[in-house]
Symmetry: C2
Subunit: 245 residues, 2 copies
Amino acid sequence: MRDTGVSPALALTAASAPGLDARRPSKADQVYASVKEAILSGLLPPGSAIDKAALCDQLGMSRFPVGIAVGRLAFEKLVVVEPQHGSFVSRISLGDVREFMLIRRALEGDLAAEAAKARLPGLDMELARSLRYQATAVEAADHAGFYRLDVGFHRLIVQALGLTHAADMLERLLSHLERVRRLLTTPPGHAGRTLEDHRAIADAIAARDPGMAALAARAHLERTTAMFASFAQQNPTLFAEADHA
Amino acid sequence: MRDTGVSPALALTAASAPGLDARRPSKADQVYASVKEAILSGLLPPGSAIDKAALCDQLGMSRFPVGIAVGRLAFEKLVVVEPQHGSFVSRISLGDVREFMLIRRALEGDLAAEAAKARLPGLDMELARSLRYQATAVEAADHAGFYRLDVGFHRLIVQALGLTHAADMLERLLSHLERVRRLLTTPPGHAGRTLEDHRAIADAIAARDPGMAALAARAHLERTTAMFASFAQQNPTLFAEADHA
DNA sequence: GCCTACACACTGGCATGCTAGTTGAATGCA
DNA sequence: TGCATTCAACTAGCATGCCAGTGTGTAGGC
């Protein structure tokens, strides 16, 4: 008995596949986006089987686009396909999380420094605006809203620099981290501290201080990593590794 | 007249697709490896059309595995596929090179620091051994050999840390950079300076000095970036952007 | 002679049928 | 009753046929 194998109802998402030109999305793009969304949202939990036949029925298309989409997700390591056996949502290990956060720390640290060096006119304003929204979300205790703003804040910096490859990379890292973030309960006061961290980053960028910006970004992500780790220690079962054999 | 369209003879490569389990490689894996090798080696230069039909003939298989393989390469951005028009080897822009090097600098800087912190027993020895080989290659003026050792040196650090995701990422970055490296003529004395840089990195790691290791790695990659840039300035035509429309 | 419009050939996207390999269960044997 | 073997159902990989959209070459009109 491997897993339920039930594939929850799935809606077609309009989003296109990242990394491909923004053409009219093909069917494969659509099911890619749909399944990815289902995985990230937790609708398809780690370890669950992906019933391609059911997907074909639900989405009203043949096995071809579905196979393509699952292949892409496998390439992204969000699903693991066992050749003549089945396709499964990949499991998460604490080691993976630490590694993803290490990469994020390195990359976003440098990006913050670059943003400070770049003297981008619009960025300071956009960051400040995002911060105001974040403050509002914190006051309103709107966790979901704050998270969206959190992600958006980080995205602002990469996008302002116009670094598309780095943006793709971070997006991919976030997609993996998103799955575990869905599980964890953010400790009280977390949003407030995150907001302070963000302020420090934005201030350093506005002050055109690359070193400080990098430090602030790295400190912020280290705090986030620590939060992940402490949560994992409290819920060791969620990160159980390689019990699928 | 877009391009020659001739697809040079292609041999099947035994290598498996990175990012997939090391199972018996499927046909799609094989043609993926073959075409990727052809692209990286310059056999299929940037901008050239990929004749899928010819590939099917040469490799003796149907369009299916070829399509899958090209799709993966498109996902990796090594080829760009224009829906009802054709698939082409993606062009290289100087901006991309700078961005890739920026990411490398950020990532490898932190990895060097982690290696210094990790106190890995075998790594120091392996790095030292690689350095001896590198010195031999420099004395023998064996450019190709030195490059292989260069890549291997950087790989040693990631692998010793056991960070598979970071390793994959760097591998992907290198695959893009490899194409332009094939084009450029390394300036005289470059190998020697690279060797010195590598020594500084290895020394810092052996001395368990994370800060120094990061600095050395970053300085090294900045020098490499500068070499790329100066070469690009001397050969502006090679990096011509978006002349394909 | 030049510009336009049409038709053809080529491309990738998709549907479907087939094959080989794995899994788990049912069945026969000890 | 417990174990080994066989078989049936499922999976992914692959081949092939068809369709729609695009680019180009050509022929016709101005």
